[in-house]
């Protein structure tokens, strides 16, 4: 199991013939992602095999509109590589065409455009990931985005993050320890994004294969606090968290458009405190994400063994108690 995307996902690449679109489509095809179509207005009817530099292992049919691509290829997931000026239009086109998961990689989409896009997504029920994000990957099944495939490993930890390379760092720490991932989602660093922490965590919580969750936040906004409240109420799986930007000065945008402490709000300290209150294993250093999850999973296994057999009999509370003690073990170790 995984969340949102798997080997059956049928991908359409919007902006497939551009430089970025070409390069990353090649990488996605090499990973084994089921890319069924591309869209570039005006180039419909052709079969695209890459450019002079980047050659695809197989041709991809190109359509003028997403609607046509959906009709002809039954595409259900889209990934967007079009320039920022046209990204909002591309996202809305995908939603109107009935695409259910839309991944927007493009960085630099104006907020005014995103307010409208957000409204359209809410109305159509389409799920947007991003913009300004690395994308989503279910290791061993499909890679939709720009993340390096080889750092991932199939497994049972869900990763959700606002960052790109910091996510790779966390994933790498897991993989190096032999801990695989169910699905990794980069939700993006902009002030308005489609999928929030809380959405991803809810999906991971409901996914039977996901045994633990890593959430990597950063300064700005209150999405981490909202997710923490959800975790406190609903999540029994171990959650390891990190917030980047403890040393960031207020009032300055730290690279990401959404990473800013405004009016004293959105500090790392506030977020970390809210997450700790929710029972999340908060690490002070991003170097400790992997080892903390490793300990949490071990603690959990030891504690849950009994619980699992009891769950079958229908007593949920025993399992809960076992898992809780596992989380606590991890937490006390971390403090040392």
């Amino acid at each position: 199991m995984s969340i949102l995307v798997n080997r059956k996902s049928r991908i359409v690449v919007q902006g497939i013939t551009g430089g970025e679109g070409t390069f990353h489509t090649m990488q996605m095809l090499d990973y084994g992602t089921n890319v069924v179509a591309g869209v570039t207005p005006g180039k419909g009817g052709s079969v695209y095999k890459g450019n002079d530099r980047d050659h695809f292992r197989r041709g991809v049919p190109v359509f003028n509109t997403v609607e046509e691509a959906v009709k002809q290829t039954k595409a259900d997931t889209s990934v967007i590589f079009v320039p920022a000026k046209f990204a909002a239009d591309a996202m809305m086109e995908a939603a109107q065409a009935g695409i259910s998961v839309i991944v927007c990689i493009t960085e630099g989409v104006p907020v005014r455009d995103m307010v409208q896009v957000h409204e359209v997504m809410t109305r159509t029920g389409a799920r947007l990931i991003g913009p300004n994000c690395p994308g989503i990957i279910t290791p061993g099944e499909c890679k939709i985005g720009i993340m390096p495939g080889f750092i991932h490993k199939r497994g049972s930890v869900g990763v959700v993050s606002r960052s790109g390379t910091l996510t790779y760092e966390a994933v790498w720490q897991l993989t190096e320890r032999g801990i695989g991932q169910s699905t990794c989602i980069g939700i993006g660093g902009d002030p308005i994004i489609g999928t929030q922490f809380i959405d991803a965590i809810r999906l991971f919580n409901e996914d039977a294969r996901t045994k633990g969750i890593v959430m990597i936040g950063e300064i700005g906004g209150t999405a981490e606090e909202e997710a923490a409240a959800y975790v406190k109420k609903h999540v029994k799986k171990p959650v390891v968290g990190f917030i980047a930007g403890r040393t960031a000065p207020p009032g300055r945008r730290m690279g990401h458009a959404g990473a800013i402490i405004a009016g004293g709000k959105g500090t790392a300290a506030e977020k970390m405190a809210a997450m700790k209150r929710a029972g999340i294993l908060v690490v002070e250093s991003p170097a400790r994400i992997g080892e903390t999850m490793e300990k949490a999973l071990k603690g959990k296994k030891a504690g849950v063994k009994k619980g699992v057999s009891r769950v079958k009999k229908g007593t949920k509370s025993a399992a809960k108690a076992g898992r809780r003690s596992g989380v606590k073990k991890g937490a006390s170790r971390k403090k040392k």
Binding site: Q27, A84, K85, G108, V109, P110, V111, R112, D113, M114, V115, Q116, H118, E119, M147, P148, F150, I151, S161, R162, S163, G164, T165, L166, T167, Y168, E169, W172, G189, P191, I192, I216, E218, I219, G220, G221, T222, A223, E226, F242, A244, G245, R246, T247, A248, P249, G251, R252, M254, G255, H256, A257, A259, G263, G264, A268, E284, S285, P286, A287
Partner: protein, 387 residues
């Protein structure tokens, strides 16, 4: 992007938002001449810097004669103005705004910004004008009225009326207030503002409603739609190193610490700063070199980091995903040779071909401290600053 108050008011005027009559002045004589042309008996001399709290810092004075205008203008022009937003080093005042004095009956607050939690624009109003709105928000949040804007239809007249009634406006002031709010929202929306804040909004005894101050910020991602706003950029208000970095397409923010850092990706860059702090240092900067991290970008990065004399060590942290670590390592060696860096450099490269990269760094004959993991990098930084 930030602009000056006088530029903000010029934009507001374009959208029919009432502002006091005013002129910008770069010299004392210009200031006096501006006051003469504006006419009347009372003027306000206002320092123009990109920071709030100017009044408390002595950068805003009310003049009751042209002689006083001259006096205040010469006091304020060239002064180093220190406010809670400038930091202890303050900012030099190079221009003034001379405005007509306004007969103030009430001081209110209105602002338009993005509400991230709902992903909608929000128009806020408060009777607590003239004070820091953050304080009002934390102490008496019920005193801030909010109207969220439906993206499908925009800010509606009934919402403007609700806010105007909520502010206790009546008669002529009510009608003017409603018009003001609608015009302010249109300006905010059309100009891709990230903030349009009027504090104070004043009501005169004649019932006029005016923006006495104006703070306007713009969405950098939307500047391609507004070349006129780009023209308002005042490089004198920005850190010279940051201006230099932006020319090389580097995302650099200067900080006060002693360990410089160079990282690919904004999140990892923030995380690396946090690691420096945990290792016992203080980050000297934020620097995101982007995905490529070529020899040229690394070289510009070195140049900018080393221009800060407080830097005692540099930590390079690159996660090579799509970009190969050996190429980054070759770039780092080339750049370091070219610039002759004389502080310890800790290099941590992870991802594709990381081992080959470590070998390149070790075999370079230069004194790199090569770190395998993030944790190792932190320890190496601790050692480097202790040495």
């Amino acid at each position: 992007m930030n602009i000056h108050e006088h530029q903000g008011k010029e934009i507001l005027r374009r959208f029919g938002v009432p502002v006091p009559q005013g002129r910008v002045a770069y010299s004392v004589d210009e200031a006096v001449e501006s006051a003469r042309q504006i006419g009347g008996e009372v003027w306000v001399v206002k320092a123009q810097i990109h920071a709030g709290g100017r009044g408390k810092g002595g950068g805003v004075k009310v003049a009751r004669s042209l002689d006083e205008v001259r006096q205040f203008a010469s006091d304020i022009l060239g002064m180093i103005l220190i406010t809670h937003q400038t930091g202890p080093e303050g900012k030099k005042v190079n221009r003034l705004l001379i405005e007509q004095g306004v007969d103030i009956a009430r001081e209110l607050y209105v602002g338009v910004t993005l509400d991230r939690a709902s992903s909608r624009h929000v128009v806020m109003a408060s009777t607590e004008g003239g004070v820091e709105i953050e304080k009002v928000a934390s102490r008496t949040p019920e005193k801030i009225l909010k109207e969220f804007v439906d993206p499908a239809v925009g800010f509606q007249p009934f919402q403007a009326r609700k806010l105007a009634f909520g502010l206790g406006l009546t008669g002529e002031a009510f009608r003017n207030g409603v018009r003001f709010l609608s015009a302010l929202y249109t300006c905010y929306h059309e100009m891709d503002c990230s903030l349009a804040e009027i504090n104070p909004l004043v009501v005169t005894s004649a019932g006029d409603v005016l923006a006495l101050d104006a703070k306007m910020n713009f969405d950098d991602n939307a500047l391609f739609r507004h070349p006129d706003i780009v023209g308002f950029r005042d490089l004198g208000e920005e850190d010279p190193l940051e201006v230099e970095a932006s020319k090389s397409n580097l995302n650099y923010i200067k900080l006060d610490g002693n360990v410089g850092c160079m990282v690919n990706g904004a999140g990892l860059a923030m995380g690396t700063m946090d690691i420096i702090k945990l290792a016992g240092g203080e980050p000297a900067n934020f620097l995101d070199v982007g995905g490529g991290a070529s020899a040229e970008t690394v070289e510009s990065g070195f140049r900018i980091i080393l221009a800060d004399p407080h830097v005692k060590a540099i930590l390079i942290n690159i996660f090579g995903g799509i970009v190969r670590c050996d190429r980054v390592a070759t770039g780092v060696v080339q750049a370091a040779r070219h610039i002759s860096v004389n502080v310890p450099i800790v290099v941590r490269l992870a991802g594709t071909n990381a081992e080959l990269a470590a070998k390149i760094l070790r075999d370079s004959g230069m004194n790199f401290r090569v770190a395998g993991s993030l944790r190792d990098a932190a320890d190496q930084v601790t050692q480097a600053i202790a040495a």
